[in-house]
Amino acid sequence: MADEPVSNPPAAPGAGAPGGHAPSGYHPRPAGGPGGPRPQGPRPGGPRRGKRNFVRKKKVCRFCVDKSDFIDYKRAEILAPFLQERGKILPRRMTGTCARHQRWLAVAIKRAQNIALLPFSAEL
């Protein structure tokens, strides 16, 4: 097809443009890491003067930190922080749980709900 050589080049700049913000933000930060010292406020002479300066804290999967290979549905107290007020399971993007552990966590929560250790939904 004649399109093939043309379709490839647009893909590369397209991927590069949104990524262009992130590297510029990361360069002046060598090894601070989450919890480490972080420059506060707008950086002088920064490339994004007018924009809001979002500093997102990197979320780490709690179960990976604990190196857990099994999430016990019987321990409601470790599952409870992953529920919303109304009893919904918090999404991964909120808690930072990795995909594998979120899968196990969801199963564990559902089991706990079945034996009334956790609520299906908050009452009243």
């Binding site: 480490g36 290979d69 099994f70 089991r111 009334a116 250790l117 609520p119």
Partner: protein, 136 residues
């Protein structure tokens, strides 16, 4: 067939006298052994608040057992008995052997990997420790 492991939790009415609960546990044990199963352990969690209302009750007496068996007939029989028992308001059986197997496998894998490379990425490890310390 390979032996399976199940968790069995049942909730009794909170006003059930202790001897009666012991009796239910005994009948469960008896039924399990009769069908060729085995009770590995029994734990009485006691009265605790339930997360939602069950049969108009807010509290229940939790009993936790680990059952081993090589076929599902045992579970069928146990569930039937718990269902007909008046004191039992809720029960749950969960087959766990496959998850435990997976857990073992992952653990072994982790240990093997740790043994092969005791110190990998020296600059990476301090930051990892720092991270956990900061979040803790």
């Amino acid at each position: 067939m390979e032996e399976r492991q199940y968790d069995l939790i049942f909730i009794c009415r909170p006003d059930t006298p202790e001897p009666e609960i012991d009796k239910i546990i005994a009948t469960v044990e008896h039924a399990a052994t009769e069908k060729g199963g085995k009770i590995q352990s029994t734990e009485k969690w006691g009265r605790r608040r339930m997360a939602y209302v069950v049969k108009r009750l807010r509290e229940g007496y939790y009993v936790y057992m680990v059952v081993r068996s090589d076929h599902s007939e045992v579970i069928k029989e146990l569930e039937r008995r718990l269902k007909v028992s008046d004191a039992v308001i809720k029960y749950l059986t969960v087959r766990l052997d496959e998850e435990l197997k997976r857990q073992d496998k992952l653990k072994k894998h982790r240990e093997r990997r740790a043994a092969r490379r005791p110190r990998r990425a020296a600059p990476g490890t301090p930051t990892g420790g720092e991270q956990t310390a900061a979040t803790a």
